[in-house]
Amino acid sequence: MILTNIETVPGKSIVECYGVVSGSTVRAKHAGRDIMAGLKNLVGGELVGYTELLSESRDEAIERTQQQARSMGANAIVNVRFSTSSVAAGASEIYVYGTAVTVE
């Protein structure tokens, strides 16, 4: 599965288009991580727990998008966009969407 965030897949041509595919996850870290992050907030710096949380969530959301694309018979997703929001306290919501296509 090829993913790009531009209109095309460079060096290949799009022959078939299927429409929009998307993947989303809502994830939370356990309360211990939240407390550590709260403490870290006092001094600043990278909140490793949350970096991990968001990166895991993005991986899963991308995986879900690819599953949707596969279910349509596509072999590439072009123009992929990420969007992040906080749906609940301590939880992050990641949304990935793009256009499922077949390239040759």
Binding site: V20, A88, A91
Partner: protein, 151 residues
């Protein structure tokens, strides 16, 4: 104990009615998605049929705010202590996105295609204690109307 039974009463009400509402909503979403399947919708900047003349194009938009029921809020609260996938909120955002895209398509009446679809999510109402009660999704894109083929 009284407080606890009120709480459980609310949870049961939330579960039963939330589930009924969710099932109905999903049924309506799937039905309408079937109808609008013929309207191509992509995140690309260029229309699919590059060879055809374009009559006009306009921006279309669809938005929706959906709230989660009490039961799911409690489950999400417990989940936040433990960590992991907040599965009860997945249907919330899934329903909201699909509904927003459908509303956008419904507004693009007569269009041949929608290009450059963008989707934004935000939490409009932070309920008590920072627990979010609802999400807002806005879907927007450009509806393209092709010139009718005469020959």
């Amino acid at each position: 104990m009284v407080q606890l039974s009120i709480l459980f009463g609310l949870i049961v009400i939330g579960y039963v009615f939330g589930r009924i509402a969710e099932n109905n909503h999903y049924k309506s979403i799937t039905q309408r998605e079937e109808v609008y399947l013929r309207l191509p919708c992509t995140t690309n900047k260029l229309p699919l049929q590059t060879e055809r003349k374009i009559l006009r194009s306009e921006m279309v938009r669809g938005d929706v705010v959906i709230s989660v029921d009490y039961f799911k809020r409690i489950v999400a609260g417990l989940r936040a202590l433990v960590g992991g996938n907040v599965t009860t909120y997945e249907t919330l955002v899934d329903r909201a996105r699909r509904e927003a895209i459908l509303r956008m398509k419904e507004r693009a009446r007569g269009a041949d295609e929608i290009v450059n679809l963008r989707i934004e999510t935000s939490s409009v109402f932070k309920g008590q204690q920072g627990q979010v009660g609802s999400v807002e999704v806005i879907a927007y894109g450009t509806a393209v109307f092709y010139r009718a083929v005469l020959d």
